[in-house]
């Protein structure tokens, strides 16, 4: 247990605009699970990408079993026994599971010896109870399955150092537990594991040793037995803040949005919503929980007019808005914070001003008889930045240069300033650091307390539980249950999200 298998000495990585890692020295011992804890942007992933040869460090050394090594590319890392499971899975969708597993391996011959691969798969299945279907295409498999494929890939390469980058982000609580079981088994077999996360709960469950990173620096390394969640939180964030999520809003029975038997096809023309019915009441926060890909996206996009319903009805405030154009629906009083900021929330190469006025550029005073008034647009943008604490160095620069948090704040401001009756927020805090996340949650509570209705789609159960009045759970294109927040807990939601009847 004391043998140091991997060590970094004073690793520094400088990117053109930022210092992602500064003087990081840490040690991984044989047979331990070492959690690398930190907020988004703390430099965890950068450090691991350096170990895996995706980035080269600007300075500093890496030692494996006491020997200095240079890792120029992933192939070097694999040869040194390092395996990495990336946050965004590195799988080729159109290839089969088996093909993905042996990609880049030479052991199975020039003409691929599938029998030998399947034999090895069987061995792994027996050892770790990791079972996959080798001959299906990866795009046909579920997310939990894909993670298993990634783990098997690493095992096939004989890695004894495993790096997992936020492995639980896409899993249900139950899937997380089965992942932990596998990790513990690997540890018993003498493998060393680096576990990157920002979830304290998981760290306390699985880690032996914990290293906290903040703003690219290593703050502290300590054994789990000598620390607590609150100490870790403080190390991670630097300062602690309390939140007022108390509800100051009355209950209402006025139905503001009514969805009846809604059926929608996905892009692959499969049924992605199968007859969803849902009522949303004025002034409430309705949480929609579910593993992504179970119809949440289609539900929301159909309500705001971005997708066509093949069947069913959406009634908002007494008006039928089914299959109406997006602008009509927005003007009726529904505004929308999309899930993917860069793909749908903003036009990345346009300036912050252009993005800020996207909802109203065609209206007076921003435009008059089709001619834009950019002076007014600039003033509007600056007002927005001030009110929502958006750090804006240059409003004329492309918005893609803003950080995720600032960009998301701008989207929120843009939508709220339209004074919607209903705000739909999809994964509003995904990928944001703790400070921005808190700002966002507080804002949502504030506007709900002012009498607005909110639909909150999220896979972060803590978020859904702490903000919502009611929680609808989606599974395979259906709403499988609606709970009052008071009677819901993580475990119950997790089971419903996995399709288990409760």
């Amino acid at each position: 247990m004391d043998e140091v298998i991997l060590e970094t000495r004073n690793i520094t990585k400088v990117f053109p605009e930022t210092i992602a890692n500064k003087d990081i020295s840490f040690k991984l011992r044989k047979g331990e699970i070492h959690a690398l804890l930190g907020e988004n942007g703390a430099g965890k992933t950068t450090l691991m990408n350096i170990l895996y040869g995706i980035y080269l460090p600007t300075s500093g050394d890496i030692l494996i079993k006491g020997k200095k090594v240079i890792i120029k590319n992933p192939l070097d890392a694999i040869r040194l026994g390092i395996g990495m499971i990336h946050q965004h899975f590195m799988l080729v969708d159109t290839l089969t599971v088996l093909e993905n597993i042996i990609l880049g391996l030479k052991e199975y011959g020039f003409v691929i010896d599938k029998k030998a691969v399947k034999k090895r798969l069987k061995e792994i299945e027996n050892l770790y109870s990791l079972k996959v279907e080798p001959d299906v295409k990866v795009w046909q498999t579920a997310v939990g399955e894909q993670q298993k494929i990634e783990i098997i890939k690493v095992l096939f390469r004989g890695a004894d150092i495993l790096i997992l980058d936020e492995p639980t982000a896409v899993l249900t609580p139950q899937e997380t537990q089965s992942l932990f079981k596998i990790l513990r088994k690997m540890k018993e077999d003498g493998k060393s594991i680096i576990f990157i996360t920002h979830k304290l709960e998981e760290v306390m469950q699985i880690a032996d040793t914990i290293t906290v990173l903040r703003k690219g620096r290593l703050i502290k390394t300590l054994p789990k037995s000598e620390t607590t969640k609150s100490q870790l939180a403080e190390l991670m964030v630097g300062k602690t803040q309390t939140l007022d999520f108390s509800r100051k809003r009355p209950k209402s029975n006025e139905e503001i949005l009514k969805i009846e038997n809604l059926t929608v096809h996905s892009d692959k023309s499969l049924k992605s919503l199968k007859g969803v019915s849902l009522s949303v009441f004025k002034g409430e926060i309705l949480g929609i929980a579910g593993i992504s890909g179970n119809g949440q996206k289609e539900l929301v996009q159909t309500v705001v007019g971005l997708k066509k319903a093949v069947q069913g009805k959406v009634v908002f405030n007494g008006i039928d808005i089914t299959n109406k154009p997006p602008r009509y629906i927005a003007q009726a009083g529904i505004n929308y914070i999309p899930a993917d900021r860069l793909a749908m929330g903003v036009a990345p190469n346009l300036s912050t001003i252009d993005n800020a006025i996207m909802r109203r550029y065609y209206r007076f005073p921003l435009s008059k008889r089709g001619i834009m008034n950019y002076r007014k647009a600039l003033a509007y943008t600056m007002m927005m930045a001030k009110a929502y604490k958006i750090k804006l160095d240059n409003p004329f620069a492309p918005i893609k240069l803003l950080s995720g948090g600032n960009m998301q704040k701008l989207i929120l401001a843009r939508e709220i300033l339209e004074n919607p009756k209903l705000l739909i927020a999809s994964y509003p805090t995904r990928g944001l650091d703790i400070a921005s996340t808190q700002f966002f949650r507080q804002k949502l509570i504030d506007i709900a307390n002012k009498g607005k209705t909110i639909i909150l789609v999220s896979e972060d159960l803590d978020e859904v539980l702490s903000l919502s009045d009611r929680i609808a759970v989606m599974y395979e294109g259906r709403i499988v249950g609606i709970l009052n927040a008071k009677e819901a807990d993580k475990n119950r939601l997790g089971l419903m999200m996995a399709g288990v009847k409760t």
Binding site: P74, M90, E99, L103, G104, I112, K268
Partner: protein
């Protein structure tokens, strides 16, 4: 019998004309599978055709000519590879430039070769047994060696693509270069390799044209066949065996056009000459519809440069 023999000649010519298209189509399929869109096929074919012709003429050996044309096409493709892989330039612009370069190069150096004819061309070699199969034998197995080579290329490339490590690496790079790289595959090497291969085969198509099918030199002798090959890649849905079908279909149009002209027909020759290009339109429309409904997609990374250290 005389009636039958017309058809046998027509179909045998279909195979020959199809071979000119088959090589570059297979080559482009593999380049595109690696993620490199090379619109320079027409240019590489012209260079292959010209170099092939000149070498065959001077050495009086059509096989030497063919080989030289293949290599010339390969080297021409390296221009595109360098621009699009190393410099990460725009593949469409680079490919078009290569086509224009091929045209200019062969026009300039080809002037004094215009209307010269080869004295030694590729001659048919009957394959024992197989060539005596009725109809089929005369159509497929009474051809020259290069045609036989093309049969082998189709089969071998199909095998490589779907059954070997080489093909797996190739498919992975074209679908998700980042994932392939994370598994230790060099995206650059794979892309250079297959772009070069695409050039070799484009050169082969051009050289086969001038050493066997039309053994003389004319300015712009490929007459848009490189573009047809690019259209055939879509028709073939990036599959070597379907490429064979597509190439012979267009070979058939070519052969028919030729035969009608030779036998004297009332259809104006301008209309006949249009046939392959009208056929291209029709094929693209039909295959686009099929591709759309069957959810067959082009390689995901087609035309996208790969940058390793991205932040």
């Amino acid at each position: 019998m005389a009636h039958h023999s017309i058809y046998i000649v027509l179909f045998a010519n279909t195979v020959k004309a199809g071979t000119i298209l088959l090589f570059p189509t297979i080559g482009e399929i593999f380049a595109e599978r690696a993620g490199i869109l090379n619109l320079g096929v027409e240019g590489m074919m012209l260079i292959g055709a010209f170099v092939g012709f000149v070498v065959a003429y001077t050495t009086k050996n059509p096989y030497m000519g063919f080989l030289a044309g293949v290599l010339a096409g390969g080297f021409a493709s390296l221009i595109h590879a360098f621009i699009s892989i190393t410099l990460r330039g725009n593949q469409i612009v680079s490919g078009l430039a290569l086509t224009i370069f091929g045209g200019g190069f062969t026009t300039f150096y080809g002037q004094k070769w215009i209307n010269m004819t080869l004295t030694h061309t590729l001659t048919p070699v009957k394959i024992p047994m197989l060539s005596s199969i009725p109809y089929i034998g005369m159509i497929f197995f009474n051809q020259d060696l290069i045609v036989y080579l093309s049969y082998i290329v189709v089969f071998v490339m199909w095998f490589i693509l779907y059954k070997t490590r080489l093909g797996l690496n190739l498919r992975a790079v074209g679908e998700n270069a980042k994932a392939a790289n994370a598994m230790g595959i060099s995206v650059y090497k794979v892309r250079y390799g297959w772009t070069f291969f695409g050039g070799l085969l484009a050169g082969a198509g051009g050289a086969y044209l001038t050493t066997a099918y039309a053994p003389f030199w004319l300015d712009g002798i490929t007459a848009g066949r490189g573009w047809i090959a690019i259209a055939l890649v879509i028709f073939a849905m990036w599959d070597p065996v379907k490429a064979l079908v597509g190439a012979y279909l267009f070979g058939g149009i070519n052969a028919l056009q030729f035969q009608l002209q030779a036998t004297g027909t009332t259809i104006p020759s301008a209309i006949l000459n249009m046939l392959p290009y009208i056929g291209t339109f029709i094929v693209i429309i039909i295959s686009s519809i099929i591709v759309k409904t069957r959810h067959i997609k082009p390689p995901k990374e087609l035309g996208i440069p790969y940058i390793r250290e991205e932040k």
